[in-house]
């Protein structure tokens, strides 16, 4: 038994299992607070440390809410529908959490207590970490459909079907927009990708990187079922979608899985486009990199919450046409632009600033005009809805 290796593995993985669930708990509170403030409400502000017996109460802006929610979830009754497939009904929430947790280890979080000699336990140093990431997040779709199918409820099944259609469609722009970074770096190794962006060379500071980041962000919203793409769990249409029949701790697992998936995909966006752990002072103090990485994830999560408070939900046909007729052509075009831009920049280094300005203007112009054209073509197909039976 190699105890050294086991110790290293624990050193590399246990922090992930501590940091991200803690962030999940805080994010639920932040999300409820932020959405409340957007709607001019107060939000949860009562649950704190109960000290009424000793006079007064420490409410801490309602920071005790996640704990209260967790305790409530734990003690709730576990209801399984009579016609449900009990085994798969139980497996689905577990399967939705496992891939989300698993992909966290592919994020280049270089903990200061792990030296270069311990690279063998760092999963993100794997050649093909990005591929692994996409492959494993794809399992999430299976869990969602499993939940919808095993519940034996038409709303659950509808939610599951919607989730499959949505996740399969948006996987394509997601991967295609990540391809440009892999092309430029020439590696699928997340550690390499992170290293190539050190010193403010973030890929988002390039025309194609900016476009790819926007496409990636939109597709990741759809991948994690976030608003405005939350059709699989649309409350006003299909109750709660695939987790309609889930209660208590199983529901909590789904909830946790969803948020961890959000962190994971935001982490990948940070890795690919936002310079991973790079930031002010990161060169001098490498341990700051973890902090910067997590801070960037938090910013992306904040934007997701902001968008949730702003945008209404899309219709199913709008969702599908947006993926196939808008994001996909744009991301394919972006791959070509990346190739041209890379060659133009590397073969004409003597022109310096001029060639950069030309690349920026040309790429942004082409991308914007294409997007505008696609938008116009897609809009031409939108006609007033006709009803077969109704008025």
């Amino acid at each position: 038994m190699n105890w050294e290796l086991i110790k290293d593995i624990l050193l590399a993985t246990v922090p992930l299992l501590v940091i991200f669930p803690t962030m999940f708990a805080l994010t639920t509170w932040v999300e409820r607070k932020a959405l409340a403030r957007i709607q001019n409400r107060i939000g949860p502000n009562k649950v704190g440390v109960p000290m009424s017996r000793y006079g007064g109460k420490l409410s801490l802006f309602g920071l005790g809410q996640p704990a209260a929610d967790g305790i409530k979830m734990l003690f709730k009754e576990n209801i399984v529908p009579t016609g449900a497939d009990r085994l798969f009904h139980l497996l689905a929430p577990i399967l939705s959490l496992i891939p989300a947790m698993l992909v966290l280890c592919f994020l280049p979080l270089n903990f200061p207590w792990l030296t270069d000699e311990q690279n063998s336990v760092k999963a993100f140093m794997l050649d093909g970490a990005v591929i692994f990431f996409f492959a494993i997040t794809g399992l999430n779709t299976l869990a969602v459909f499993m939940a919808g199918w095993a519940s034996r409820n038409k709303y659950s099944l509808l939610g599951g079907m919607r989730a499959i259609a949505q996740m399969v469609s948006y996987e394509i722009p997601l991967v295609l927009s990540a391809v440009v970074v892999v092309m430029t770096v020439g590696s699928l190794n997340a550690g390499e990708i992170a290293k190539s962006q050190d010193g403010w060379n973030w890929f988002v500071f390039s025309p194609w990187g900016l476009a790819a980041f926007i496409i990636f962000f939109i597709a990741s919203l759809a991948e994690t079922n976030r608003s405005p793409f939350d059709l699989p769990e649309a409350e006003s249409e299909i109750i709660a979608g695939y987790f309609t029949e889930y209660s208590g701790f199983k529901f909590a697992l789904f909830f946790l899985g969803e948020y961890i998936a959000m962190f994971a995909i935001s982490g990948l966006a940070v890795t690919l486009f936002l310079g991973a752990g790079d930031g002010p002072g990161a060169e001098a103090y490498p341990s700051l990199k973890v902090i910067w990485f997590l801070a960037k994830i938090c910013v992306l999560i904040g934007i997701m919450i902001w968008l949730r408070g702003t945008l209404p939900r899309l219709r199913v046909d709008q969702l599908m046409s947006f993926a196939w007729k808008f994001l996909m052509p744009l991301s394919i075009l972006n791959i070509f632009i990346t190739g041209f831009a890379w060659h133009a920049e590397n073969n004409n280094e003597e022109y310096g600033f001029t060639i950069k300005a030309i690349i920026w203007t040309a790429s942004l112009l082409i991308l914007y005009l294409t997007a505008k054209g696609l938008d116009k073509v897609n809009r031409a197909n939108i006609k007033p809805r006709t009803y077969q039976y109704g008025e």
Binding site: I38, N40, R41, I42, T310, L311, D375
Partner: protein
């Protein structure tokens, strides 16, 4: 030509404005926090409130005049059971959509102030865990006996008996009703008074009509007696005259 995605950015600016504004502009926040959190003069816990007579917890003065929760039974001034308005007609029990009212009619009748002896509810239970606060019972009640209460602090550790409000819990005075829903209570009292006045007027009219009828009958008897005395000289086959014609004759005379 509008910029692609400008609408989303515009929307995000609006939500950001609301988000930041809610921290600086107190006018924006339309949430009323649970009352005793802000009012320093009120006790800190619900249990510390002084109980008023006939009330379970505390005066519901902090909710608006238009707040409605569960039904209550009204009684007029005096002993609650002597002046209860309910006559156990069971209309509300039959109309209640979730069937949360249970009434048992009394065997004996009880004297009411300013009215005939009436039945009264021997049992009147409302299961507030079933009640959906639809107010249909209030609308169908012909005696204005059941109205909506605004008391909301009904949480109890006893899931079954604690949420089953008995007759004693439901009985509230008309003054209490005036206190929690002043406008509605005034309207209702006015209507009751109007109805009573109309009834009185009708009764008077009916009495007057009865009087007139009596007079008419007397007059008829009189005329018939006169006719009988004349009959000896006249044709006996002639039909007797109607009472109205008699009245007319009387009036013209």
């Amino acid at each position: 030509m509008n910029l692609l995605g400008a609408g989303i950015l515009k929307g995000m600016a609006v939500t950001l404005k609301n988000f930041i504004g809610s921290y600086f502009d107190k006018e924006r926040l339309n949430t009323l926090e649970y009352m005793w959190q802000n009012d320093k003069s009120l006790p800190k816990r619900a249990g510390d409130y002084p109980k008023e007579e006939g009330e379970q917890l505390r005066p519901t003065t902090t909710v608006t005049n238009y707040s409605r929760n569960f039904p209550m039974l009204l009684h007029d001034d005096g002993e609650p059971m002597d002046t209860i308005r309910c006559v156990a007609c069971q209309i509300c029990e039959r109309e209640c959509p979730p069937q949360c009212i249970y009434i048992e009619k009394s065997d004996d009748k009880k004297e009411r102030p300013g009215g005939k002896p009436q039945f009264y509810p021997a049992t009147f239970d409302i299961d507030v865990s079933v009640c959906m606060s639809c107010q249909i019972c209030v609308e169908v009640c012909p005696f204005d006996a059941i109205v909506m209460n605004s008391q909301f602090e009904l949480s109890t550790p006893d899931r079954f008996n604690g949420l089953l409000l008995k007759r004693g819990d439901l009985l509230k005075s008309n003054q209490y009703y005036h206190k929690i829903h002043p406008e509605e209570a005034a309207d209702r009292d006015k209507r009751i008074a109007d109805d009573k006045a109309a009834k009185e007027a009708k009764k008077k009219a009916a009495e007057a009509a009865k009087e007139a009828k009596k007079k008419a009958a007397e007059a008829k008897a009189k005329s018939e007696a006169e006719a009988n005395s004349k009959e000896e000289s006249k044709d006996p086959s002639e039909p007797p005259q109607t009472s109205t014609e008699h009245n007319k004759e009387e009036n013209t005379e």
